[in-house]
């Protein structure tokens, strides 16, 4: 969706203000650490995948998204996911306390002893396929010009643009359908664009931008 998350090339956010690396805390407030940990543990209950959770965040109204800090966005997204999964009621969020019995969860709650092993294992997103990749390294391709109302990982700035396939990465869960629960694996490619093809005459003449694009985002260059 053309939501507030799709920031590439937008203007008006001002200069980047990096904190000195050696002084920057991992979390700026204690609640941020809780927000991260709650998001990970609630995710482990198995009711949504990474694309469902990304879509929950990007579906926040733009004014809310831009008016929220990073972990506030995560928290608002998490609240939406919990309600949509039937695990928490809106009335519970409003009152700030548990009012109903717990719902059955898809997976048991993450135990402390499982945390480090599960973080170390991760969850690979590659999937087997019997379909060969449609494109190869070095091939010129064009991204589709499409504006889906659901989740997508093709940023607006890179739609309808010609670029070159740089690398074929394998077959991965497809975010556009995975956000609806269907992994429908697709080949994933690094596609590199000349900055001038993305940004026109204001582009840096010696710069490129590469994205990782799923096969349905690409057609052969004409």
């Amino acid at each position: 969706m053309n939501g507030p998350q799709d920031l590439g090339g937008q203007m008006g956010f001002g200069p980047v203000a990096p904190e000195p690396e050696t002084d920057e805390p991992i979390f700026h407030e204690p609640w941020e650490a809780r927000a991260l940990a709650l998001t990970l543990t609630a995710g482990a209950l198995g009711h949504w995948n990474i694309d469902v959770s990304r879509h929950a965040r990007e579906s926040l109204p733009p004014a809310v998204y831009y008016g929220s800090s990073y972990y506030e966005i995560w928290t608002r997204g998490l609240e939406r996911l919990l309600v949509d999964a039937g695990l928490v009621g809106d009335d519970e969020l409003a009152s700030g306390s548990a009012l109903h019995p717990a719902a059955a969860t898809a997976r048991p709650p993450l135990a402390a002893a499982q945390v480090r092993p599960s973080l170390a294992a991760g969850s690979p997103y590659t999937r087997p396929t019997s379909t060969p990749p449609r494109f190869g390294a070095g091939q010129r391709v064009r991204t589709i010009n499409d504006h889906p109302t659901g989740h997508t990982r093709l940023p607006r700035y890179a739609r309808g643009v010609e670029g070159t396939v740089e690398r074929v990465h394998g077959c991965f869960v497809f975010p556009d359908t995975n956000a609806g629960g269907d992994p429908d694996p697709q080949w994933c490619y690094t596609v590199t664009f000349a900055a001038s093809d993305l940004w026109g005459r204001s582009a840096d003449p010696r710069s490129t931008v590469s994205i990782d694009a799923f096969e349905p985002y690409l057609v052969p260059a004409s």
């Binding site: 998350q5 203000a17 991760g122 993305l198 710069s207």
Partner: protein, 201 residues
């Protein structure tokens, strides 16, 4: 946040000890020192660098790093003609196992919006001014690949040990917003010439 946490704990969805364990992991164990060790190894072992560039996930796993948000790694190497910088314009994708959690600026709309359209301007805000002849390559992490930049090894470190090198690699140099400065002539404490120890490293 406290209210949401207590709802989830009261309903038995979340074990509070698991929350503490996650926070402890990213506060104390998983951070940019991991990536720095990968970089230092790549600088000192050409065969390792080759494996990193060919299959970064496997090569990083050789050093014991991997897992959540680093399941599929790509390594890009800065040279004297090419500088790499990494972003996630759509959210905050970042290679957690080697760099830890992303810094606030990496997640900010200012960085995410501008580094793709004005990379040199953004780098300048980090104090990084590249030769105009150097090509800037921006990597937008739009899928499940996660990127680690191998910065250029600073001049003056030719006979440093891998451990010494790892200590000078910054997080920002592995995202690509910083270039590591040349190291001044060695002083006592880094290498002790009086002992003749310099030749041994």
């Amino acid at each position: 946040m406290r209210a949401l946490e207590s709802i989830l704990i009261d309903k038995g969805y979340v074990d509070p000890a698991a929350l503490d364990e996650i926070i402890d992991t990213y506060q104390h164990d998983v951070g940019p020192r991991n990536g720095a060790r990968v970089v230092a190894r790549a600088w000192t072992d050409p065969a390792y660098l080759e494996r990193l560039l060919a299959d970064a996930t496997a090569a990083i796993a050789e050093l014991g790093y991997g897992g959540r948000q680093g399941e599929h790694m790509v390594v890009v190497e800065n040279t004297d003609t090419t500088h790499h910088v990494v972003v996630c314009t759509l959210c905050s994708c970042y290679p957690w196992p080697v760099l830890g959690l992303p810094p606030a600026w990496y997640k900010s709309p200012a960085y995410r919006s501008r580094v793709v359209i004005d990379p040199r301007g953004v780098l300048a805000e980090f104090g990084t001014v590249l030769d105009p002849e150097v090509e800037v390559r921006v990597w937008d992490s739009t899928a499940e690949l996660r990127y680690l930049v191998i910065p250029r090894r600073p001049a003056g470190t030719e006979d440093w040990t891998e451990e010494q090198l790892a200590d000078l690699v910054t997080r920002n140099s592995m995202i690509g917003t910083e270039v590591l400065a040349p190291v001044a002539a060695p002083t006592v404490g880094i290498r002790d010439h009086a002992d003749g120890g310099g030749g041994a490293s």
